[in-house]
């Protein structure tokens, strides 16, 4: 078997295993939560005993977490993601209809966060005063929860994807600055600068090829952080994306939807990580 095929197979296996374990972990955590059996519909005084018994029977199907999980996986292998118990709609349709909204917010947010962090880190190299100033701004942004940033952006009527950029920027800035400072201190780059090479030429031909793989290593983590920030952003902005869907599923105790969403997010994060690894190696 060719080596690349074996490697791809290993990576695909690792991706699938992580997603499966992620789904099982969510199902187990949710199943063992103290209030798993509670259903707010049971508080409705109009319901009689038989209706209440039916609601409890619905929960009973999910009592054995392994049985629930195996059933859910088997259905997923047949392309059936199941039906959301709270929204009474096929989970596949829900995800398809909301994926574009989250993808757009995350794409703009990731692009904004990465560009701002990289540009400011580049400007901070060899400029201690600027570096200190941006460092203080970065600590300020790091000290605010993503929900508070979302509130502030909402109040000034800014585009909601800037929240994701603001969440990512301080986390990336420190890392980028240290990486670029190390890269610019390399002897061959010092020589290139001494010889009077243009800054852009040094950056694109000498600095970026050297530290590119380490920069890209953060792609997967950034995607995961961006999704975490997307939950309050979409909830506050009433944007019909996956973050809002996750929040609705959590509030409505919708186990099938929660498990599927966790697996999806885990898979996407892992794919971003694998792609960043591959791109870095290339």
């Amino acid at each position: 078997m060719p080596r690349w095929l074996a490697k791809t197979g290993r990576q695909a296996g690792s991706l699938a295993a992580t997603a499966l374990i992620g789904g099982l972990l969510t199902a187990t955590l949710v199943r063992n939560s103290p209030g798993f059996d509670a259903d707010e519909r049971e508080l409705d005084s109009r319901l009689d005993e038989s209706s209440r018994a039916m609601i409890q029977a619905e929960h009973g199907e999910n009592h054995n977490v392994l049985r629930f999980y195996v059933r859910h996986m088997r259905a997923m292998l047949h392309g059936e993601l199941g039906v959301s118990s709270s929204l009474q709609a096929p989970i596949g349709d829900l995800i398809r209809s909301r994926f574009a909204v989250t993808a757009e917010i995350m794409a703009f947010g990731l692009a904004g966060g990465w560009s701002a962090a990289f540009a400011l880190a580049l400007a901070a190299v060899g400029n201690p005063a600027w570096s200190r100033f941006i460092g203080v701004v970065s600590v300020g942004a790091l000290s605010l929860p993503s929900a508070a940033l979302a509130v502030l952006v909402f109040v000034v009527n800014g585009p909601m994807y800037t929240v994701i950029a603001l969440v990512l920027f301080p986390r990336l800035f420190d890392y980028f600055r240290n990486l670029l400072e190390d890269a610019y201190a390399q002897p061959h780059i010092v020589t290139a600068r001494a010889k009077g090479l243009r800054r852009s030429r040094i950056l694109f031909l000498h600095v970026l090829p050297g530290c590119g793989p380490q920069l890209l290593a953060l792609a997967g983590v950034s995607a995961s952080m961006a999704f975490g920030a997307a939950i309050p952003v979409e909830t506050l902005g009433d944007l019909p994306g996956l973050g809002q869907l996750a929040w609705k599923a959590a509030v409505a105790r919708d186990l099938p939807l929660l498990v599927t969403l966790t697996m999806l997010i885990t898979l996407l994060t892992q794919i971003c990580n694998a792609a960043a690894d591959w791109w870095g190696r290339e």
Binding site: T18, L25, S33, P34, G35, G140, S143, L144, A147, F227
Partner: protein
């Protein structure tokens, strides 16, 4: 900056003890009141003094975040310490488990589990469960750091000498390696506090932290779910969170370098 911030924040905490009133007291004659001499930050839509609630939330959030950070650090010390010291298949197993768990969206897991609390759970119980979950999910990164440190200590000369002199393995771990881990454990502890404060704030904003009327920084942010209708003084918890978290963020590297 640290020398100025520390006494100021301490003063703020002390003042919070002196400022009277209960966080649940409702002043029905002053509902949604603007800031005045009696209520410096006004009242909310139930007539509760915002300043009293903010002071109580500050103490509660700091106390619970500190306890959760302690729990996470102890878990990390145990898992990372034993894995790093034992080595072999157990170490490999712990490393793989940590890598796997780190790749899961922790906020999402927290959201899912926290949402499954009983509908009639008491506010304190729901807050304890929230922070306990943060501890359970928050030990992974510190455990990696601790494991790496224990592995390097295991190869050090003083441990080799202790072993050569017939010192039992448990004693080596407790008397020789653990004291050397103290600076790392302290740094991990200080790093975890702001992380837990920010996570609770995000959960609270989504209505998944302590139940009413118990105040935490997160539950106070819940009022801002409709920010255009909120009064300016309702934004005070954001300022408090930013002040304390930035303080923790600045003391962490300092504590690390001190160690």
């Amino acid at each position: 900056m640290r020398s100025v911030a520390a006494p100021l924040l301490l003063l703020l905490l002390m003042a919070s003890f002196r400022y009277g009133g209960s966080y649940a007291t409702q002043h029905r004659d002053s509902i949604d009141a603007p800031p005045c001499w009696r209520f410096p930050l006004g009242t909310d839509d139930l007539g509760r003094d915002r300043l009293v609630r903010l002071f109580d939330a500050t103490r509660i959030s700091l106390l619970f975040a500190g306890a959760a950070a302690m729990g996470a650090t102890l878990l990390a010390a145990f898992a990372g310490g034993v894995a790093g010291y034992a080595g072999g298949w157990f170490d490999q197993f712990v490393v793989r488990a940590i890598d796997l768990l780190l790749s899961l969206p922790s906020l999402f897991l927290l959201l899912a589990t926290r949402a499954m609390m009983p509908l009639n759970a008491s506010p304190v119980f729901s807050l304890v469960v929230t922070y306990a979950l943060m501890s359970v999910l928050g030990w992974l990164t510190p455990a990696r750091v601790i494991r790496a440190s224990v592995r390097s200590s295991r190869q050090s000369e003083y441990v080799l000498q202790a072993r050569a002199e017939g010192c039992p393995e448990g004693r080596i771990l407790l008397r020789h390696i653990l004291p050397n881990l103290r600076p790392i454990l302290l740094a991990q502890f200080w790093t975890s506090i702001p992380v837990f404060i920010l996570t609770e704030a995000s959960l609270g904003f989504l209505g998944l932290s302590a139940g009413e009327p118990f105040p935490t920084w997160g539950s106070l942010l819940h009022e801002l779910q409709n920010p255009l209708l909120a009064r300016p003084e309702a934004f005070a918890p954001i300022v408090a969170i930013a002040l304390f978290v930035s303080y923790f963020k600045t003391i962490t590297p300092w504590k690390g370098s001190q160690a």
